[in-house]
Amino acid sequence: MKLKGHTQPRDFKAINPWQRLLVLAMVTFTIAPFAPLVIQSLAFRWAWPNILPTVWWHEQRGLSPLPLAWDYVFSSSSRVAEATANTLGIGIAVTLLCLVVCLPAARVLAQSNFRGKSQLEFLIVLPLLLPEAAIGIALLMIFIGLGLAGTYVGVIIVHLIPTIPYMVRMLTAVYQGHGTEAEDHARVLGASRSQVFFQVTLPMILPGVIAGCLFTFLVSTNLFLLTFFIGQGEIITLPTLLFAKISGGALNATGAGIALIASLPGIILLFFTDRFIRSYPLAT
């Protein structure tokens, strides 16, 4: 990622005024809408046309120790805890399963040529190109028949569909970047297959594997449509809970609270994984 020629990062003014305007406008467009969301979740009374709430929560803390929205969000009747546990649990299961399925296949795709390779590669990107609603509704029929609709197993399996293309792409790029010399040396020196994998290959590809896992986890935790269709309302995750809250077309204080909770996994990953997510090979 190092740029040739420029050793010193330049000032923000290094880009021209139009570019500065564009960057600032897009940051505003991206981040600013979160402000009213936070305000709404802390407001006590916020009627039109006031730009800020007329009564804030802390002015009424005698009535409730927590902001009303957060009091509800943290209570068991909002099902936020259940949805969070489901979201994280499903995300972890999907990530591990996806890794187990994709890691060996990515090695083969990166290192050998075989008949039908390009067809297989097409099959792998197909989930990104077919409308998600079409896949979801068609699979729902099959899963109802198999008794998988509304179960964790069904939801986890269906989450593989949008995650596999990214995982395979990222892992294939990682394998391609490393070649096979180190493994060949280890084999020549008499290492067994499992020794080669765990002591040579895995340490080399680990950063890429972690990046792939984080991205897969993220895709899974943000997935709405397939969870909604296959989960049949039995399995609630943060995105489906939020959808149920706002599907009427209005957003109240508790909806704002749930929206903030639903953004938390992404925000945390954004701060802690900057260097991992930075260079994932989306555009290969």
Partner: protein, 306 residues
């Protein structure tokens, strides 16, 4: 313990076959998962849309009845039009924003890391969060409406121009753009970083103006990134459900919402109609994507790159 020479003689007969078998075994899980999930879904969807559903006591296979009813209704074409309009408009606006944005962020100024991290936030949160933001910003009681009242444009929420729940779909498009600009920007930035600065500098040295550099050097170079990012976003938009469901203008809905409504109908027979909608959607999407790829291939061939 394996003999050392095996690693380099693995090209001969039986060993080569063993390697091939091992490769095959390693690809197999992925193939099985994709083939059964997709193959099963596609076969079943097509069968059902042609009237095969013995579990509901319906078996009129092969009947084109459901397609006829669908394709002969004017509302279907209206739905298709809305679906395509939202998907194409959002993809185009997203591209127009993210191409200059990725170029600006690749200039590596001091704060570019912070800015690119901030801009990446929508990529990390669910679509429904974007919809919640659209409701709180763009709704008639939302923040923009309050600001309009503040500066004296309107004095009643009802006077605020309808942004959500219209067939113009401003809200839907805004959510798609908000969510997809980071994705496109990242994809394009990856291509920009890989191509490096050399050609750009060479053009500069040879006296090209900055607009010439953009149109003749940078844009052709990032074209593969533009195509793949816009393909993925378009395909997603055309099959998206929650944004048109919540922010859309109601009947006639976009095709995914229409399919879902058929599917939720108390009358089971409507599920077959829903399947016809789903298959039509997949066909239209496939057709447009192949035409797009074909056009791109012609472009590349004209430039002598393929």
């Amino acid at each position: 313990m394996p003999k050392p020479y095996k690693a380099h003689t693995a090209i001969t007969g039986p060993l080569a076959r063993r390697q091939t078998l091992r490769d095959l075994a390693q690809v197999l899980p992925l193939f099985v998962v994709l083939f059964f999930l997709f193959g099963g879904a596609v076969v079943l969807a097509v069968l059902q849309s042609f009237g095969y559903a013995p579990w509901f006591g319906i078996n009129e296979f092969p009947s084109t009845h459901y397609y006829e009813r669908l394709w002969l209704s004017a509302d279907f074409w209206l739905s298709l039009g809305y679906t395509l309009y939202y998907a194409i408009a959002a993809t185009l606006i997203g591209l127009v924003i993210s191409i200059p944005l990725s170029i600006a962020l690749c200039a590596r100024f001091k704060a570019s890391r912070i800015f690119s991290a901030l801009i990446r936030l929508p990529l990390m949160v669910p679509y429904s969060v974007g919809i919640a933001l659209a409701l709180v910003m763009l709704g008639n009681g939302g923040l923009l409406s309050r600001f309009s009242a503040f500066i004296g444009w309107i004095d009643d929420p009802a006077q605020f121009p309808l942004i959500l729940r219209t067939h113009w779909g401003w809200g839907i498009i805004a959510v798609y753009v908000w969510k997809q600009v980071p994705f496109m920007t990242l994809a394009l930035a990856a291509v920009l970083v890989r191509k490096g600065d050399d050609t750009h500098e060479a053009a500069l040295v040879l006296g090209a103006t900055s607009s010439q550099i953009f149109w003749r050097v940078t844009l052709p170079q990032i074209m593969p990134g533009i195509v793949s990012a816009s393909l993925i976003c378009f395909a997603f938009n055309i099959g998206a459900f929650e944004a048109p469901f919540i922010l859309g203008g109601g009947y006639p809905d976009t095709l995914p919402v229409l399919a879902w409504r058929y599917f939720q109908d108390a009358n089971y027979a409507f599920q077959l109609q829903g399947m016809a909608v789903v298959v039509s959607l997949a066909l239209v999407s496939g057709l447009i994507l192949s035409l797009y790829l074909l056009a791109y291939r012609r472009y590349e061939r004209a430039r002598g790159r393929v």
